[in-house]
Amino acid sequence: MIWLGIDTANAPLAVAVMNNDEILVEIKQHIKLTHSIGAMPAIEEALQRANIEPKAINAIAVSIGPGSYTGVRIGVTIAKTLGWTLQIPVVPVSSLKILASNIDSTTIICPVIDARRNNVYAAIYQGNETLLDDGHYSMETVIACLESYKASVNFVGMDAIKYEEQIKNILGDKATIAPPAKSLPSAVEAILLAQQMTLPMIEAVHQLVPVYKRITEAEANWLKEQQPYDN
């Protein structure tokens, strides 16, 4: 079974082609190139190198977010268009789970994606357990949550280093931050995670949308206006 994996949820780009559990091609890049320019050529290149026609793909694993709104939309739009028109299932995978998969550890893993203004998209996992669901949190909330656990914590993600001081101040030596080379999302990990899930129905592809974890500012303001007396 031929799998195509795509992760464009944040600045790095990851594309992979696998045959069952074997990697055929993996592309990972972190350069100043927008996904709109880079994603489709990377997918074409990966498949060409693997000598696989688009019609020979059997399933797609795509990073569904959270992350950059525009970034994740590009990957999801490509995945759902390919999935629909090639009539193959598309498996959505958490962008945070993909990052966490880089770390081979039984301790606590905290993938972090910057969401600006001291906010992050983050989750806390330990093994197969989720201690904090994927979400949009203030960094303080995430660190406070981690403080309550005794075990050591592995932060992962290109943006984790931005919060190094804040992390070390509270968690001290119990926290380690994965080096940059271990912090890029991997489309191979996306495929491996997808392979553990049940394949969705092909028709479900139309309903596939990014997991934003935040409503838009305009909608938030509008909702506020609808309840003027409810503070």
């Binding site: 709109s36 739009t77 490509i78 268009t81 629909w84 139309h206 305009a218």
Partner: protein, 346 residues
């Protein structure tokens, strides 16, 4: 006698530059085989205008459904298509990117040529779906984002001879509608009120330099706002119909006069109006009357081809297909895209 079997050209076109998710299939550049538009207007109404992030989110929800419906309506399989076309710009970049990435993925999946179309070229070519375009041709493009006079000496050649220096005409309509507390989108309401009005408030006409084909609507918009403020301070009520008529008369007079002067100067054989504001009854009536007197054929597409749609993108793409103007998989959204000719002038 041997029979020549001609294969029909079918282009799948996608348009997501603003708040409509649209897909169409155009046969031989002229025939609309399918024209699907999923409008987001109901969602944006609550904000009083299009919110770009909300628009992008809706496009992702709708995009494959709309393309599928177009193919089903046309009863065509992807392998029967000649090319995939998409609006490359201008527009809201996040919105454009959905159509572009869907088009690229679809083109790649079926190994079809990809064509990136300029949104305004699309609006102009909407006319090719109604009657043949005759050159030299003058197009008045008026919408929420554009107010332009475009001269076409030949098919595929575009010269922008005049454009707005501030607000687009449609933008001015929306802002004036807000002053008059009319629902979004305000254009049709102002048009209706102006039509019903018996009196008109006298607002200025902005002509700019004598020989200029450019437009300016921000001064007119300010004049309406000042007029409303003055009345409000005096505690007098505003006659919305008279304001609507005064505003619309000013816009229509300037648009009509500049279009007529350009049509004469360039001795065009056809004048067309395109874009959302060309659905305006007052503007249609004025242009129709003026060019009837002038003896120059004037056309404006039916309403559903004036507002954003993918059929017009397919019509323009058909010309680009003949000229072999293809895009690549690294095509990006181009929010400020310039209108460029794709054929060398004859």
């Amino acid at each position: 006698m041997g029979e020549i079997i001609m294969n029909n050209e079918y282009i799948l076109a996608i348009e997501t530059s603003c708040d409509e998710t649209a897909a169409a299939i155009i046969k031989d550049g002229k025939v609309i085989v399918a024209n699907i538009v999923a409008s987001q207007i109901e969602s944006h109404k609550r904000f009083g205008g299009v919110v770009p992030e909300v628009a992008s989110r809706h496009h992702v929800e709708q995009i494959t459904l709309v393309i599928e419906e177009a193919l089903q309506t046309a009863q065509l399989a992807p392998k029967e298509l000649s090319a995939v076309a998409v609006t490359e710009g201008p527009g809201l970049v996040g919105a454009l990117l959905i159509g572009i990435n869907a088009a690229k993925a679809f083109a790649f999946a079926h190994q079809l040529p990809l064509i990136g179309v300029h949104h305004i070229a699309g609006h102009i070519y909407a006319n090719a779906l109604v009657q043949p375009m005759v050159f030299p041709l003058l197009a008045l493009v008026v919408s929420g984002g554009h107010t332009e006079l475009v001269l076409m000496r030949n098919a595929g050649s575009f010269e922008v001879i005049g454009e707005t220096r501030d607000d687009a005409a449609g933008e001015a309509y929306d802002k004036v509608a807000r002053v008059l507390h009319l629902p979004y989108p305000g254009g049709p309401h102002i048009d209706r009120l102006a039509h019903e009005a018996t009196e008109a408030v006298d607002f200025p006409r902005v002509w700019l330099e004598e020989d200029s084909y450019d437009f300016s609507f921000s001064g007119l918009k300010s004049a309406v706002i000042n007029y409303q403020h003055n009345l409000q301070q005096k505690g007098e009520s505003i006659d919305a119909s008279a304001v609507a008529k005064g505003f619309q008369d000013s816009v229509v007079e300037v648009l009509t006069a500049k279009t007529l002067r350009a049509a004469r100067e360039y001795q065009v054989k056809q004048v067309i109006a395109a874009g959302g504001v060309s659905a305006n009854k007052g503007l249609r009536a004025s242009l129709t009357h003026t060019f009837k007197n002038e003896g120059i054929p004037f056309y404006v597409p039916p309403l559903h081809l004036c507002t954003d749609n993918a059929a017009m993108i397919g019509a323009a793409a058909s010309e680009m297909f003949k000229a072999r103007q293809f895009g690549a998989l690294n095509m990006n959204g181009n929010p400020g895209m310039a209108l460029k000719s794709w054929l060398v002038e004859q």
